[in-house]
Amino acid sequence: MGRGASFIGWPGALALVVMAVGSFIGLFVVGADVEMGEVQRLMYVHVPAAWTAFVAFFAVFIGSVLYLVQRDERADRVAASAAEVGVVFISLTLATGMLWGKPTWGVWWTWDPRLTTTALLLAVFVGYLAVRGFADDPERRARWSAIVGILGFVQVPIVYLSVVWWRSIHQPPSSPRSVSSDILGTWMLNFAAFLLVFAWLTARRARAARLEAELETRMAYD
């Protein structure tokens, strides 16, 4: 069990601690929303999860560009791992958004620009992972999925703009001025926790991908 420490790893342990503190504050310390009540506490998961999903998407973009420029397999593995973890966070964002939307807006789903864009973002992520699943050769898999990662990132602003014009009922994005400082503080704490979880999971996934690649090569030579 000498590897026990590296199994959890310090980012994982730190993520656990920060997440526990953030959840505690979000659930028990910060007061319930004046208008929306307890359900508003979902936002302490929803907003940081959304931010983390966008960070993940950006990481996929950077990893994809790096791969195409340097042809470094590590960049490909990081991009692929960030995409997998990104799917988790974006699903979490959509799920908590729906749970919040039902009591607040009265509907699970509405064709709001940010909702629609987030759902489309999930579709792009899924497409990225599907390309990886359906490509046999590792070099081609990396190259093709990197192209999907770049194009997916480029299309997000245009998709968002087009859906904003199409229809809008969402509250304007919360800015530091529009929310009180204890809400913002809790968001930031949970964002830090989610970023740590994201970094930790992505690193673990990338390590597993490296081992998979090594195994593939070894099996090919045996």
């Binding site: 081609r140 087009s162 014009w165």
Partner: protein
């Protein structure tokens, strides 16, 4: 041969094949007409309702038919390793993309020349007074569909399950041109009372430019090896 000559050669070759075999155009025509019919059956014979959503039905029919023809973009090259031959031509391989893009654009535009009047008849819409703006919107929307579609068709060419991978990647990417084309078409058909169609036309232009630049730039990476 310089770039424009190469592009023209590809377009000419593909159009010649199409004119002689009519393999794609006839099936596209039948398919798109059936899509319009299926929608009408699904929604019911309520002509005022159909007229209100006609632009959406029309563009969905174009996108679905486009998916069908776009997936066959490189089919004529697959036998006897045609794509490898084209790629080995010295110089920039982007002429393949530009040529195929122009071919797809022409084929879809030819389809729309029939499909728009067909929709006008089926849904009892007055299109003739708006022919010019409609033609412009059709051109910009179809350019967007062809630009993204020709690129993703190349990208998914050697994937397993490519029949499902092309729509999976392409449909999310086609949201802006679809929204732009549908809304601009509908507004023009309604007489464009507030001049809002210009906003959607701007979106179409922006999408076409961005995707054309990025796809042309990335194309050599999509087909290398």
């Amino acid at each position: 041969m310089a770039m424009p000559g190469r592009v023209a050669a590809i377009v000419w070759k593909d159009l010649l094949i199409e004119v002689r075999t009519k393999a794609s155009f006839h099936s596209m025509l039948a398919f798109s007409a059936l899509v319009l019919f299926v929608f009408s059956f699904a929604i019911g014979p309520d002509t005022p309702l159909l007229r209100r959503i006609a632009a959406g039905l029309l563009w969905v029919a174009i996108v679905f038919t486009g998916l069908l023809s776009l997936s066959r973009t490189y089919q004529s090259e697959e036998a006897a390793g045609g794509l490898e031959g084209l790629r080995m031509a010295p110089g920039d391989p982007r002429f393949i993309y530009l040529g195929k893009l122009a071919g797809n654009l022409l084929l879809l535009l030819a389809l729309e020349v029939v499909l728009f009047p067909a929709a006008a008849v089926l849904f009892q819409i007055e299109m003739l007074p708006h022919a010019l703006p409609l033609a412009g919107i059709a051109l910009l929307g179809t350019l967007g569909i062809s630009t993204a579609g020709t690129f993703y068709a190349a990208l998914t060419l050697h994937l397993r399950a490519r029949e499902i991978m092309l729509p999976l990647l392409l449909i999310p990417a086609l949201v802006p041109p679809l929204l732009g084309a549908v809304n601009a078409t509908q507004l023009v058909l309604d007489g464009n009372p507030f001049g809002d169609a210009a906003l959607w036309v701007r979106l179409l232009v922006a999408y076409d430019v961005v995707f054309f630049v990025v796809c042309t730039w990335l194309f050599p990476l999509a087909v290398e090896d």
